[in-house]
């Protein structure tokens, strides 16, 4: 699972790869584009087509899903690519390209049955061979960001419209895993030239690309060959890279866009502008990463002191404007993997924190830490201030090459934010597993976690004991001294009222049934 820093940074310092330098260009775009585009309004275009004008914080740098990985930009790529499964409003895997699937009795083999008659946009058939090619490419392509997600898969056998996935362990999470996050399926013919695919995506999703300006804009049109085309009522999509946070609302007001993810600081302005503002459910969770292999975190009392020094509500109040929520685990409250029993573990208690530091032999100011982050982030300033209150001095260090030492587990102290995964087991192993990419303390893992996560994999998702087994794994993982979860950043969306409501699929943006200007596309 590739690393993704906090999904949506509040305030002015938030976006990786698209910092404030874009402000001027964005401002010019806001001023000029409406004037030059015949003031198209915010609903259907002049031709009567329903056009989604989506400006996104996660405009894909790569259109090859294998290279893009399973991070937040999967939502944009899902416009083009379909998967074996997708998730419903409860987060459960439901049919997408595969109309059904079944496990063998042992639970170490699963066969997906694909819908008949489907084609990729280049005319290639969607069949078992395409699935096999997609899995093998994700496992073997040199620049794949997905091979860490597919460690349970031994091989894939293709036979007509069936794809049989052979596993190296019992794992009932596979339908959750092989959804839009991890296995968006590209045409094998197009994928034979991965460099070309990276800028000319060919999938079997609801839309096909007609134009891409790298890093800036993509134009898509409805794919009439999509298996659920009858329920896609959007004719065209104009996907653009979001400008600076402060100008997005202006763009929505003037009709340059009709759909955008926005920073919490902009929510009030968006509401005042008459836009629909809503929080799409998600699995976002931010955390402080500690390396217990390095001093001072090799001392359990220091780790506990940090745990008790964190006031999660301050993150919520100052960074989410009340739209987020405090969390001490990588799942939102109410989700099947959320463990209510762990809710009050390590409450905010600065007095206890100071006492623990004293017991560990540290006086106020003795501990000096570098908090290494990739870019300016108000979270870091809050951590700095909260730890200063208990006598730990934190220097914030911005390292543009942060990802290299972070994923090499060379850092002592850092921050991370995940957008979650559709498979709860995947989320847990990524954070708490001995080789989890988000476990800064590799090879450390909390006691009992490995057995607990194995039990999760071995439990069918529809088994009555599954929720309990999953929560026990979460509880075991939360014993980890390597992560202190802080808050959940909201997936805050602002849209024109002409765009109808979206299905509340957690962490996904599902365009099925969505209309623009009350118009349904001719299908």
């Amino acid at each position: 699972m590739p690393g993704r820093i906090t999904p949506r940074r509040p305030g002015p310092h938030r976006r990786s790869g698209r910092p404030r330098a874009t402000a001027l260009g964005a401002a010019l775009a806001i001023v000029l584009v409406p004037a030059l585009s015949a003031c198209g309004g915010d609903a259907a275009s002049a031709s009567g087509d329903a056009t989604l004008k989506w400006t996104s914080t996660y405009f894909p740098a790569h259109w090859d899903p294998v290279v893009g990985g399973s991070g937040a930009q999967f939502r944009e790529l899902s416009l083009v690519y379909a998967s074996l499964t997708r998730t419903d409003e409860s987060g459960k895997a439901v049919p997408d390209l595969a109309e059904s699937w079944e496990y063998n009795d042992e639970g170490d083999r699963i066969t997906f049955h694909l819908r008949p008659g489907l084609k990729f946009s280049d005319g290639e058939p969607v069949d078992g061979a395409a699935v096999k090619a997609a899995v093998e490419r994700a496992q073997k392509q040199k620049n794949s960001a997905l091979f860490g997600d597919l460690t349970s898969i031994e091989s894939v056998d293709a036979k007509g419209l069936d794809a049989t996935v052979n596993l190296n362990q019992v794992d009932y999470q596979i339908p959750q895993l092989l959804g839009q996050r991890v296995l968006q399926i590209a045409s094998p013919k197009a994928a034979a030239a991965p460099e070309k695919l990276d800028q000319n995506p060919v999938g079997a999703g609801p839309f096909t690309v007609t134009q891409i300006v790298p890093g800036t804009k993509a134009v898509l049109k409805k794919n009439p060959e999509y298996w659920d085309a009858d329920n896609i009522h959007i004719d065209n999509v104009e996907l653009t890279s979001a400008p600076d946070a402060s100008t997005v609302v202006s763009g929505l007001q003037t009709g340059v866009y009709n759909f955008a993810d926005i920073a919490p600081s902009q929510a009030d302005a968006a509401k005042k502008a008459g836009l629909d503002v809503f929080v799409q459910p998600g699995f976002n969770a931010s955390n402080i990463s500690l390396n217990v292999n390095k001093a001072p975190f090799d001392n359990d009392k220091v780790v506990d002191a940090v745990r008790h020094a964190v006031n999660r509500q301050e993150f919520v109040d100052k960074l989410t404007f009340g739209y987020g929520e405090a969390t001490n685990q990588p799942f939102p409250k109410g989700y099947v993997a959320y463990d209510p029993e762990s809710e009050d573990a390590y409450p905010y208690d600065p007095a206890k924190s100071k006492k623990l530091l004293a017991e560990a032999g540290y006086r106020s100011g003795d501990i000096k830490l570098d908090l290494v982050i990739p870019e300016e982030d108000p979270q870091a300033e809050i951590v700095q201030s909260q730890l200063a209150a208990v006598g730990i001095t934190v220097d914030i260090k911005i390292d543009k090459n942060w990802s290299t030492p972070f994923f090499a587990k060379d850092l002592t102290f850092s921050l991370y934010g995940t957008t979650g995964r559709d498979s709860a087991a995947q989320t847990l192993t990524a954070h708490f597993g001995p080789d989890g990419p988000l476990n800064l303390s590799t090879p450390y893992e909390p006691e009992g976690f490995e057995a607990a996560i194995a039990k999760v994999r071995q439990t069918p998702l529809d088994a009555p004991e599954y929720p309990q087994v999953l929560r026990e794994a979460t509880r075991a993982g939360l014993d980890s001294k390597a992560l202190v979860f802080t808050y959940s950043q909201p997936n805050l969306i602002a849209k024109s009222k002409s765009v109808s409501g979206l299905p509340k699929n957690p962490a996904h943006l599902d365009w099925t049934g969505v209309t623009i200007g009350g118009k349904g596309a001719a299908s």
Binding site: A21, A263, E375, I398
Partner: protein, 295 residues
């Protein structure tokens, strides 16, 4: 020259503004009414008696952060100007006297440096050496130095052809003596103009880098950084970016105004201008005696 600059209204205004900015750089942290790094629950507060410029997104006092942040901006601009002066002016003068090889090499170097963009180069240096403003400003100073090189070289060339300088050299005077005795006085005014102008340029560069979050480690306040962070909360405090923006603008303007004033009072044209003003105001203008041997 100082007296001549101060005799102009524009000179007095520029010096006054720059003096205030310099004072802020020295005393700003002491004048800050509150701890500029102390967060509070009172976020994005409006102007009030306890927070004259309100609070930012973490509840920190904006006035205190502005005062505290002036030091980084001023020191950064000075660093650019002084580096450019040292790296540019000395080779510029010496290129006239140290032979054709030195002249050719320094001219080509100056041509090369002119071709490099300040900001991009500063960002690249920071990426290479770490996120610190000092190294970025030093490099930017080197990139600005061709201005001083050319100005000082041009002024030196004009003097070097003078009969009194050639006479001094024929009489056995050393190059160093000639430069100190005859050249420096002629080169100083254009260098002073360039220096004042570079102060303004330095401010723009420091503010640009800190606006982009480059060169300083949070939560250290800077004028550019405050401007950037305020832009993210326009809907809450729409006036907030004006304060750091106006401070940056006025400081840059003052640097340019000072450069203009120095230019106006330099050389024969400047003296003539001031004489004219003296005649109009009835006050005689003092002029420096002409250099020995005449110019």
């Amino acid at each position: 020259m100082v007296r001549r600059v101060l005799s102009l209204t524009s000179g007095r205004i520029a010096v006054a503004i720059l003096a205030v900015v310099a004072l802020l750089a020295v005393l700003g942290p002491l004048l800050a009414p509150q701890d500029p790094l102390a967060t509070s629950d009172n976020t994005l507060a409006a102007v009030s008696g306890s927070h004259w410029l309100g609070t930012d997104y973490l509840g920190r006092d904006v006035l205190s952060r502005l005062l505290d942040g002036s030091r980084v901006s001023v020191l950064g601009a000075l660093e650019v100007a002084l580096t450019a002066l040292a790296v540019g002016a000395v080779p510029g003068i010496l290129s006239v006297y140290l032979g054709r090889v030195f002249e050719w090499v320094t001219l080509r170097l100056a041509d090369t440096l002119v071709a490099l963009p300040f900001l991009l180069f500063a960002v690249a240096v920071i990426a290479l050496l770490g996120n610190g403003l000092t190294q970025a400003m030093l490099v930017t100073g080197v990139l600005v130095s061709p201005l001083f090189y050319r100005v000082s070289r041009a002024a030196t060339l004009a003097v070097a052809r003078s009969q009194y300088v050639e006479a001094a050299l024929i009489c056995g005077a050393s190059v160093g003596w000639v430069v100190r005795r005859h050249v420096w006085a002629k080169v100083l005014p254009p260098i002073a103009v360039a220096f004042a102008q570079t102060i303004g340029t330095g401010f723009v560069i420091v503010s640009s880098l800190t606006f982009l979050g480059i060169g300083v480690q949070p939560p250290e306040p800077t004028w550019g950084g405050l401007l950037a962070s305020d832009l993210g909360y326009l809907s809450h405090r729409p006036w907030a970016p004006l304060v750091p923006a106006v401070l940056i603008m006025i400081t840059v303007w003052a640097g340019n105004l000072l450069a203009d004033a120095i230019r106006d009072v330099s050389g024969e044209a400047g003296r003539a201008l001031l004489k004219g003003r003296g005649a109009r105001t009835g006050r005689p203008e003092r002029t420096e005696p002409a250099p020995a041997g005449g110019a």
